[in-house]
């Protein structure tokens, strides 16, 4: 787990079967049933299906994507070990996010001593936003997420560069230099890009 000032980006790795995603042939009920009857391998389908939304959900509340990815793994491990507690009539994504929220709480608790004032502020904001984050995550549909990359590629050039680079940490300042923009304009453009992306994702799935 990367903390503090170090930012680590994992290089692109060859996609493994664990990461392949083919939503069309996924049947959650039968997959869960297979896992429960001892076919551990079937759990991979669940990971493939719910991995990205879960990572995004966690990343929306954690500053470091690597930490979010580590927690996502913890969530899947817990889900596997306690799959018998899941009732099939429930929303599996919501069940996973419930586990994720508990993991997040533990994470925040265990890191609270080392936190700076700004980190504490962000955690307080995350607490206030918990219900809103959950609602948005619950509304998100799989096919919308699948379209996101294509939507990004259709953004106007400047917006696309901002979205691709991200605004975390000092990247915003670097982008301002690179694109010769002021910070306010950069945030406004990113805000606009996000709106366009949302419209694109929802519009296409509607």
């Amino acid at each position: 787990m990367q903390l503090g000032t170090t930012h680590v980006r994992i290089a692109k790795v060859r996609r493994t079967p664990l990461q392949m995603h083919n939503p069309s042939d996924f049947d959650l009920k039968s997959t869960i049933s297979s896992v429960k009857s001892g076919d551990r391998d079937a759990f991979r389908q669940i990971v493939r299906h719910f991995g990205l939304p879960l990572r995004a959900f966690l990343a929306s509340q954690l500053h470091h994507l690597d930490d979010a990815d580590d927690l996502a793994q913890d969530v899947f491990l817990a889900a596997f070990n306690h799959l018998d507690r899941f009732r099939t009539e429930e929303d599996f994504g919501a069940w996973l996010r419930g586990i994720a929220r508990n993991k997040l709480k533990t994470y925040f608790r265990s890191h609270s001593r080392r936190q700076s004032a700004m980190e504490r502020f962000r955690n307080e904001v995350a607490e206030v936003m918990e219900v809103d984050f959950e609602k948005l995550a619950g509304d998100l549909r799989e096919e919308q997420v699948d379209r996101l990359l294509s939507c990004i590629s259709r953004l106007p050039d400047k917006m696309r560069r901002i979205v691709r680079a991200g605004l975390e940490g000092q990247r915003a300042a670097e982008l301002c230099d690179e694109l010769e923009m002021k910070v306010g304009a950069l945030y406004t453009m990113n805000h606009r890009a996000n709106k366009l992306l949302r419209e694109c994702m929802i519009g296409e799935s509607a």
Partner: protein
């Protein structure tokens, strides 16, 4: 864009700090303004989604292990097949039959520690202090899956082998491995098994031995020499037809499939019981044959049994031949013009603080300065390695240059993991400073932030290797592109020499990792930077706390026995050759 939203986003993204008053204002608005909350939630969700879909997919090693993921490269195929076979044997063992298991699934470190004590005490009592009994204790000896958690405790160690070829459960056995209860087969060559209660059995393949406890075993077939001195005299060997075979010193047993069993008392007498009959004694330098339920006298022929002298001689022959091959091969690498550095760890005179670069292009700066690390045994009797033990044990060297292509290859032995992270090699810039009027030094880069193009080569406690290239640094901290392997070093690899090699091509960002001569992962860096460094550091760096995430302590606890740095990309065949030439004899 709403100013509050912009400030909140900037704070959320760690771009700007807010005063306490401003924080309070924003929290208040968030709590009271549902529309504002919705807007902020949508922005953060989209930011996290765009980050997640664009980022490389994480390697979830624990999850892959749990799901028994099949690695994508063939390097693990043998190990997995082996593990699966052993897992199957465990299942059967749970049904009532005992099978040999390796200690790598030992459930408790205390049991291992206890065994070590027992082995060392035993070795001491046997007066064999000069003979090295290698015991490799996996520090993180956790079971690899719940199914494997019920492994048996170790009762013996595979102390020595020569030209050994294994089959069945014993496939891939390495010298020094601990053995649990059960049966293993040697098809060819010789193997010495030391039992924890002091007995020693030398087998000549083809043979099959069933290990039953620390002081008993059953020879299913083949030829074995049993040495039972001191505390080992309680050792009991049996064969089809003969039970309670106990000797006072040395005896040989030979079991032929569907044929007679022979017992030769080589030194001291031997007692046995034939098919439940009376206890019978064979005196020194005589032999018996048991066939068709009858015991008869046999011609005494001790020369047909494997003994330690033969085993040692064979072992020496193999080592001599292999080490000469390695030396020829190493010379080739040293003389290649593209080789920037080649530490063979071989010298006429081993200096306490100097490690010689044998590359033809070596400069004075490229000879390493040894700080703290100590010379120790290498892969061959006539060459050495450097052992790293303490927090700042390291080697410093100057290797200035910029490179688009680079290959790193090293023979390492990890003895244990004392820390989460182990830096094997890292580049570093010189400490630049100016002197103030009062004589105080002012460092230009006090936090030792890496420059673009610097590297780290890291092995973590999970057995994962990472190759990291710095892509920049600044107030936000260091940024690294990282190419990681799946888990390559497993518990059974602890204490054994292994070849790690990594190639990096900055022109396309590709990184290949190799473990013991075979490719284990291929990655592409997202922001490939040409490599640029002044100095390199091997082993445990003396880093200030500021640059260690989570104040991580780096503690490579092991040895390095060869290091090659080439400014070209070695291909798969060359790395395989490097491995085969340098692979230890046993």
């Amino acid at each position: 864009m709403d100013k509050d939203l912009q400030d909140l986003m900037a704070a959320w993204l760690d771009h700007e700090e807010l005063s306490e008053d401003r924080q309070l204002e924003l929290r208040k608005r968030l709590k009271g303004d549902a529309e504002f909350r919705q807007e902020f939630a949508e922005q953060t969700q989209m930011l996290s989604l765009t980050r997640a879909v664009q980022a490389s997919e994480p390697r979830w090693l624990q999850l892959e292990e749990l799901l028994e993921h099949s690695p994508q490269f063939a390097v693990f195929a043998d190990e997995i097949a082996f593990e699966e076979r052993v897992a199957a044997e465990i299942s059967r063992a749970e049904g009532g039959n005992g099978f040999a298991l390796l200690l790598r699934w030992l459930t408790g470190g205390f049991a291992v520690a206890g065994l070590c004590v027992a082995l060392f005490v035993t070795a001491f009592q046997m007066g064999k202090k000069s003979e090295r009994v290698e015991v490799h204790v996996p520090v993180s000896a956790r079971p690899e899956s719940s199914q494997l958690a019920k492994s048996t405790v170790p009762i013996a160690v595979l102390a020595r082998t020569a030209k050994a070829e294994w089959s069945g459960n014993a496939a891939n056995l390495q010298t020094g491995e601990l053995l649990g209860r059960g049966r293993f087969k040697i098809e060819n060559g010789l193997a010495q098994v030391d039992f924890i209660d002091g007995a020693r059995v030398i087998l000549r393949g083809p043979a099959e031995l069933d290990l039953r406890s620390g002081n008993s075993a059953h020879l299913v077939k083949g030829s074995a020499m049993c040495v039972v001195k001191g505390p080992g005299q309680a050792f009991e060997l049996s064969t089809p037809g003969l039970t309670e075979v106990r000797g006072s010193s040395e005896f040989g047993l030979s079991v032929k499939a569907n044929g007679p069993t022979e017992l030769h008392a080589i030194s001291g007498s031997v007692k046995f019981r034939a098919e439940g009959g009376d206890l019978t004694e064979v005196i020194e330098a005589t032999a018996i044959r048991f066939a068709d339920t009858r015991v008869q006298a046999a011609t005494y022929e001790p020369e047909f049994f494997p003994d330690l002298t033969e085993l040692k001689r064979l072992e020496q022959e193999i080592i001599a031949s292999r080490s000469v091959d390695w030396y020829d091969h190493a010379l080739g690498w040293s003389h290649e013009p593209e080789t920037l550095l080649h530490y063979t760890f071989m010298s006429d005179v081993y200096q306490e603080n100097r490690l010689e670069n044998h590359a033809q292009t070596a400069t004075e700066k490229s000879h390493g300065m040894i700080i703290g690390a100590k010379w120790s045994d290498g892969r061959w009797p006539w060459k050495k390695a450097l052992e790293f033990r303490n927090q700042t044990d390291r080697v410093l060297l100057g290797l200035p240059g910029q490179h688009d292509k680079l290959t790193l290859a090293t023979w390492i032995r990890v003895d244990t993991f004392t820390q989460e992270e182990n830096i094997l090699l890292r580049s570093k810039q010189p400490d630049r400073w100016t002197m103030k009027d009062n004589g105080e030094r002012v460092y230009e880069n006090p936090e030792q932030q890496p420059d673009r193009g610097e590297i780290r080569w890291v092995l973590n406690r999970s057995g994962v290797v990472r190759f990291q290239v710095a892509t920049g640094s600044g107030e936000a901290g260091q940024r690294w592109d990282v190419a990681a392997t799946p888990r390559v070093l497993k518990e059974r690899g602890i204490g054994h020499w292994a070849l790690l090699a990594t190639t990096y091509d900055a022109t396309d960002g590709s990184v290949m990792h190799y473990w013991n001569g075979r490719p284990v992962s291929k990655s592409v860096m997202t922001d490939p930077a040409p490599l640029a460094f002044e100095y390199l550091e091997l082993g445990n760096p003396n880093l200030s706390e500021d640059v260690r995430p989570n104040r991580t302590r780096y503690g490579f606890f092991g040895a390095m026995g060869e290091l090659l740095i080439s400014r070209r990309i070695l291909n798969e065949a060359e790395i395989a050759k490097f491995y085969l030439a340098g692979k230890p004899a046993s």
